[in-house]
């Protein structure tokens, strides 16, 4: 996942690399996602997570498009 100073620069990057653009989030959205995703990563009890748990994190972060679809 790469950082861009605006959506305009993402379009340029995608065109230059001949790639379709994926999903674009604001830095605030990514911060909210990061807290949900990584808050317990240093815990001994963290053993990964199930597809259901991943889907729940995306739901809590408001990521509901097909891009975030999880095969359960």
């Amino acid at each position: 996942m790469l950082l861009f100073q605006s959506e305009e620069w993402i379009d340029k990057w995608c065109k230059r690399n001949n790639l379709e653009c994926g999903e674009v989030l604001t830095i605030q959205q990514v911060w909210e996602l990061s807290k949900l995703w990584y808050h317990n990563r240093l815990s001994l009890e963290y053993h990964g997570r199930s597809a259901e748990q991943v889907a729940e994190i995306f739901r809590q972060a408001g990521l509901k498009s097909k891009f975030w679809y999880i095969q359960k």
């Binding site: 996942m1 861009f4 990514v30 990563r41 240093l42 891009f67």
Partner: protein, 151 residues
Amino acid sequence: MKEESMLWQIRHFVYSHFADTTRAPSVDETAARFDISAEEAGEYYKELHNRHAFFLDLETLTVRMANPFSGIPTDFKVHANGKTYFANCAWDMLGIPAALHADALIEAVCSESGEEVGIEIHDGNLRFSIDDLRVHFPLPFARWYDDLTFT
């Protein structure tokens, strides 16, 4: 034979080592910590790689990514707790303060313009030097593990 409890203790040790020192422990360091052979430690590393708990450099026993931490320098530099970490990507640069539960100063660059970007996290709130900052996720979640370096 790999023991499940030991497996997760080793995962925890690798992550704690990253948090404490900004780098992953070598197989030898992990072997010494758990009083096992380097060969055994290597087998645990491979198993944790296979389970996506962390990721080894191709055909080595060197930890390349223990997300959000990067084992190699990147464009995403995170200063927190008096240390400087490298993150794997624009998501992980925010993942490091989230994992450490710490304030942070992040130095990054726009991947197309090369413009330097500063981000501060203080008491859980974000401040940043450029208003329209965006993160691009190139692949849908279902394909994230196809090519982690690209993702």
